[in-house]
Every structure is written in C-alpha cells, then in structure tokens.
C-alpha cells in the first residue's frame, strides 16, 4: 500500500509540474477561421486591459479547434457550429465531460457573387441545387449563359459544416466545388471570377456582392445586414461559440466574461458580427 501511495504522489507531483509549465505559455484559443479576426480583437483588447496576460489566438477551422480541445492543446475552442455527437463523445471519453458551450456572437452567412454577376437573389432550393451540382449554369437561375464556378471551404471548417447541414440539408457538395483554406480566400476567388459563387461570414464580404436569399420560393429575398441578421429575417444566420472542456475557471473565465461583457460584444459589432443578446 505504501508503494501505491508513493506512485500516486510521484504522479501527482509530475502532473502538477507539467500543468504549471503548460499554463506558463498563456491561454490558447484555437478554431474557427470565421472567428479568428474577432478572437484576435478580443484578445488584443483583453491583453491591453490586463497587462502581463498572454492570449494566443489561432485559426485552422472549427473541427481543428475542437480536436485541439479534445487532445488538450488548447484551453478554449472557437467554433462556428455546434459540436457533433461523436466529438462530444470523444471529449467525454477523455474528460468525463461533454464540454461547456458558450454562444458569444451571431453571424450571417453571406452568399458571395462577383460584382458583374446579374443574379440578385437565390432561394435555399436554388442554392442547394447549385452546390450539389443539379444546377450548373447561371442561365438556370436567371443569369447569363455561363457555367457556375463553385467555391467553398475545407471540411474542417465550421462554415462548411453549417452550410452543408442548413442550406444543403445534409446533402453532399458537388465534386466540382473548389475548396479553399479560408473565408478570405473564397472572397478573393469570387471577386476575380465573374462566374464564381462562394459563402462565408458576412464580415468578410469586401470586393464581392452579397446575394439576397429566400428561404423558399414564396418568401421575400433578404440581404444580410445588421438589422436582418439580428432580427433573424435573414435566413442564413448562426451562433458563434466558445467551448471549454469544463466549467470555465481562472484566466479562461475572465476572458470569456470579457467576451460577453458590453465591451466585448460591442467589439463583435465593430468586427462585423452581432451581439448574442
């Protein structure tokens, strides 16, 4: 029994040492590319207000952030979609916890079109048909006679998953869809391609035109704007999340409290997102 006691004591000391070395690197926040600019702004302002604190914010996609949360390489995960059941199961296997989900902002998912594209509005059904490959020519949705060029995100992206689940209703993307490593890359591609179409956070829509979206054929076409996203009339809106493994404590709690504060939420508005409350 004394032997067991020694083993446990040694392991606890080693774990404490390892834990403190880990914490010395500061708080890490990783995940959604959609949220990376917002996360960096939150971190900058938080560090300005709290000198000596270090918060590292990196992207990689919601899936990558959630994987990092599970394997312990980040304390906070940014995600532009809710965690999937199998991700929660993996987290529970390791930490006996399903994680803590904190909605921190609202986002509208814009449909980007090139400035020269004459198409002004698309319904969910048309978007679904375009991205699954059933519609391949702009002429079929009131545009010019040209092949539609699809741009999208990688499957580690929360935006990819959100768009697939909510617009494509779970159907698979057309094999012709070109996957790009970030929303900025999608915007850039559509800005240069007169026949291109892409999707991504409303905050990124620079140099491209937003397409008005109709939930169904009889619904009004709505453009993404602060008012339409906040009141929910724009049909492609979503919550953005921070995830922690356990109930936030220490530095993580202080940072999340800041994010949810009036100041943090106002920063979300400045970056192009919308307050959660």
């Amino acid at each position: 029994m004394r032997r067991l006691h020694h083993v446990i004591t040694a392991a606890a000391l080693a774990a404490t040492f390892a834990g403190s070395a880990y914490g010395a690197r500061g708080l890490t926040v990783k995940g959604s590319d959609t949220m990376v600019i917002l996360g960096q702004r939150w971190a900058e302002q938080y560090m300005n207000a709290n000198p000596g604190r270090i918060i590292q914010v990196t992207g990689g996609g919601s899936g990558t952030g959630i994987a990092a949360l599970i394997n312990g390489t980040t304390e906070i995960c940014m995600a532009s979609r809710p965690m999937k059941a199998d991700e929660k199961r993996k987290l529970r296997d390791r930490y006996q916890s399903m994680g803590v989900e904190i909605a921190v902002a609202k986002d509208g998912l814009s449909i980007y079109l090139n400035e020269q594209n004459p198409v002004k509005e698309l319904s969910f059904e048309q978007l679904r048909d375009i991205y699954t490959g059933a519609i391949t020519n702009w002429k079929q949705v009131g545009g010019s006679d040209a092949q539609i060029v699809l741009y999208g995100r990688e499957n580690s992206s929360g935006t990819y998953v959100y768009f697939k689940d909510n617009v494509l209703l779970g159907r698979d993307y057309s094999a012709r869809c070109q996957t790009l490593p970030g929303t900025a890359a999608v915007v850039n591609a559509v800005a240069k391609d007169p026949n291109g179409i892409g999707y991504g956070g409303a905050a990124y829509a620079k140099g491209v035109r937003d397409c008005a979206v109709k939930k169904d054929a009889s619904s009004p076409a709505v453009l993404p704007s602060a008012a339409t996203i906040k009141d929910g009339s724009y049909p492609v809106t979503r919550d953005l999340y921070l995830y922690t493994r356990l109930k936030p404590a220490g530095e993580a709690k202080k940072f999340i409290d800041y994010v949810l504060s009036t100041e943090g939420q106002s920063l979300a508005t400045q970056v192009g997102y919308f307050p959660i409350r």
Partner: protein, 431 residues
C-alpha cells in the same frame, strides 16, 4: 495529417510565387527599363502566374484525394509484475512449452495501425492491424461501410467484414480510451477478441437513439477454428439499442446463436444466448473535474469453460472425445457477469478509476465465480500520451468437488485463490 498537407501546399505555392515574382519585381524597379519591355515582362510574369495557378490546382486536386486517407493508431507498452512471478521458468513437453509464464516482464500489449479511406460521401473502407502481444501482425478489422443515400444525414450504415461484435458498452469503446488496462472478465470470456465476421446495420433514428442489428459467424476471431470454418453452421444474430442523453446513457443488447463443440464423431450443439444491459452516468464536480459511474450486466447461456475438462483434447487436430461419464448437454450453463465502475478526473491531467467485476460461469454452482477489484491512475502527459499505473486483485473461488455438474470427468479442482494480483505500468501513445 490534413493540416500538414495543407501547410505544405501553401508553402509550396508561396515559394513558387516568390521565386517567380521576385526577379520580375526587381527588374520592374529598374528605372532604365523601357515601357515596352516592362509591359512584356508583366505579361511574362502574368503567364507564369497562370501556369503556377494551374499547377497549384492540380496539386490541390491530388491532395484532396490524399485527404480521404486517414492513418491512426496507438501503442501500449507495458511493464507488469504479478504475485505469482517465478524464476523457475522451465521448458517442457513436446512441442516445448514454457511453464510457468514469466509474469514480470516488459511487453507490447497493443500496437495498432488503422487505415481509413473515405472513398466517397457514401462509402468507407477500414483496414486495422495489430502487432501486439503475440509478436505477429494480425488482421484486427477489415470492413466496408455503405451509407444510405436516401436520408440527408445518412442515418443508416451497412457494414460488412470483420469488425467489433455489437454487444455491450465495453466492446464498442476503444482500448485506447479505457481507464483500466483490460475489460471485465465477463466480456473477456464471452467475447474473446471482441471481433467477428458478418454484416451489421447501424441506424441513428434520432440524435439520442441508435440501434444496431447484426448477423455474424459466431465464433469470434479468437476461436481456434477461425476463420476457416463457421463453427455454428448457422449464423448468430445480435442487436443493441442505445439511448444517449449525454449525461445519462443506457443500452440493452441481445445475442442469439448456437455453439457447436466439435468432437471426433457427432458434434455437440448447445444454445448460446446472451443478454446485456449497461448504463453510464456523468457528473461534474466543481474544481475537481468530471466523473462517471458505470455499470454493466451480462447474462445468458454459454458453453462453460470447464467443459473442456470433459474432453480428451482441446484441439480439433487430435482425437477429441468425451471422457467417460461426461454429459454433453451440460456443456452450456447459465452464466452471470457484471461490473460497477467509478472514474474521476482530477483536473485535466490526472484521472483515477476503480472497478469491481464478477463473472460466474455457472450460476448453478456456488463458489466458482471470479471476482476482481481493479484500481488505476492515469496521467495524461500531453494530448497524445498517457501513463497509467493499475493494480488488479482477482479472487478465484475454489471449484468444489462432489457437487459440480462436471465432476463426472474428474475436473481438477482449482486451488484456493491463487496469488496472482497484478501491477501494470503502461505507456500509451495515440496518434
């Protein structure tokens, strides 16, 4: 792997871009360059960029194909020491065998490599190898999964090949995430090897409710005759229904088949029925961390391990006959196994676990059951590596002579509880 491939492509593209544009930019800055030449250079650079863009697109297409391929696995290296360790290891018999086994040793419990290929959104193939304890590489799993095309979220999946038997909570959990080194004795006896060949249908009816039905050979991968014969000559069927709320999960399992014991002469066919129920409750303690309480029960009718004592040989290669007085109908007996387990995380790096498990191979007999207390401590060194220390204290009841069903064949009575408590130190890396 995906991240590193993406980074490689980005770096390669950036490198090409810089290499191509830097000389042109330097030249463009030369004040003496005539405008006509400059326009030509710009055109040239533009052409190069277009060419590189095509190359990058080709690379991206190729990498997208590679991304469908996933490699994962884990290694469990162990040191264990048992109370019954001995320095009197002897080589005896023909063919020579080592008696007793050395039970203070370093060894590789599991060394596994899993390759998954997501061929399309509707199909997947998996090949899974183990190069662990027996020093040879063996096929652990190999199966093809088809997802249904008629539901948008592909709620039904049909799998055929060699895979886990869909019964109980312990089997479906990977050994790489288990809190104690080994599963319960009941699971080890009833589902030795955990895998079999067959077909299964998994249906996710709601996010909380899932069912699995399967038809399998029934012998399992550790059955002596596997995989050349189907020892039951009729397929075994099984099913599992699980409700998963998140903090409370519960499931029931059912298995129905026949067990054929090959003899020299007419074989003996007996019922093989198994019922299972399991539940897990999760909670969080402030400051301390998450924890869970788990329990599982196995019951039914199964060939009693003692039945082999009623035969002249355990191998089908040599004459296998019933000993005088042995009753074939007594091969299968009612069994009962269960365990209760507690797991508590201490912060994010440490975890303790304790389990009490019981297996009674013949409920008609008293004092023949196996009991074990296991405790373990896990230290999560980093996101991929875990160091575990565990202690198992099994209690094996003596087999009473005179009242046992199988004593007609004079089975050797087990000695009183052997000194076989076991310490295990394990280093695991999962990738």
């Amino acid at each position: 792997m995906e991240d590193s491939v993406t980074r490689f492509i980005r770096s390669a593209a950036l490198g090409l871009l810089v290499a191509a544009t830097a000389p042109a930019m330097v030249r463009a800055q030369e004040a003496t360059t005539p405008p006509a030449d400059a326009a030509q250079k710009v055109e040239e650079v533009h052409g190069r960029l277009e060419g590189m863009n095509e190359q990058v697109q080709t690379l991206v297409t190729d990498v997208d194909k590679l991304k469908k391929f996933k490699l994962s696995g884990y290694i469990q290296a162990r040191w264990e020491t048992s109370e019954n360790k001995s320095d009197s290891v002897r080589v005896t018999g023909t063919p020579p065998t080592v008696t007793p086994a050395n039970t203070e040793r370093f060894y590789i419990r599991r060394g596994r490599l899993k390759m998954t290929y997501d061929s399309s959104p509707l199909s997947q193939a998996v090949v899974y190898f183990d190069g662990g304890t027996d020093r040879t590489i063996r096929l652990l799993e190999a199966y093809v999964t088809l997802l249904d095309p008629w539901t948008t979220l592909h709620k039904h999946a049909l799998t055929m090949g060699q895979m886990n038997v869909p019964f109980g909570y312990e089997i479906e959990r990977s050994s790489s995430v288990r809190e104690l080194p080994e599963r319960s004795r009941a699971e080890n006896v009833l589902f030795s090897g955990e895998r079999d060949r067959g077909v299964k249908l998994v249906s996710q009816w709601t996010p909380q409710f899932e069912t699995v039905v399967a038809v399998m050979n029934g012998g399992g991968v550790n059955q002596p005759d596997f995989p050349n014969t189907d020892p039951t000559r009729a397929k075994d069927i099984m099913g599992r229904a699980r409700f998963s709320q998140g903090t409370v999960d519960a499931a029931v399992s059912y298995y129905d088949g026949k067990n054929v014991t090959p003899l020299t002469g007419p074989d003996v066919s007996t019922d093989k029925t198994r019922f299972g129920a399991d539940a897990q409750v999760y909670y969080a303690l402030p400051v301390v961390g998450g924890g869970s309480l788990r329990g599982e029960v196995y019951g039914g009718k199964e060939v009693n391990p003692d039945s082999v004592r009623t035969m002249t040989s355990t191998s089908s290669a040599s004459p296998r006959l019933l000993l005088s007085g042995a009753e074939p109908s007594h091969f299968a007996t009612d069994f009962l196994g269960w365990y209760a387990m507690w797991v508590q995380n201490l912060g994010e790096k440490l975890q303790v676990a304790a389990r009490y498990d019981v297996y009674d191979p013949n409920t008609d007999l008293d004092l023949d059951q196996f009991e074990r207390v296991s405790v373990g401590l896990n230290w999560f060194y980093d996101g991929f590596t875990r160091i575990s220390v565990s202690y198992d204290a099994p209690t094996t009841r003596p087999n009473p002579s005179g009242s046992a069903r199988f004593n007609a064949a004079s089975p050797a009575a087990r000695p009183s509880d052997p000194a076989d408590n076991l310490w295990t130190v394990q280093l695991q890396h999962k990738f």
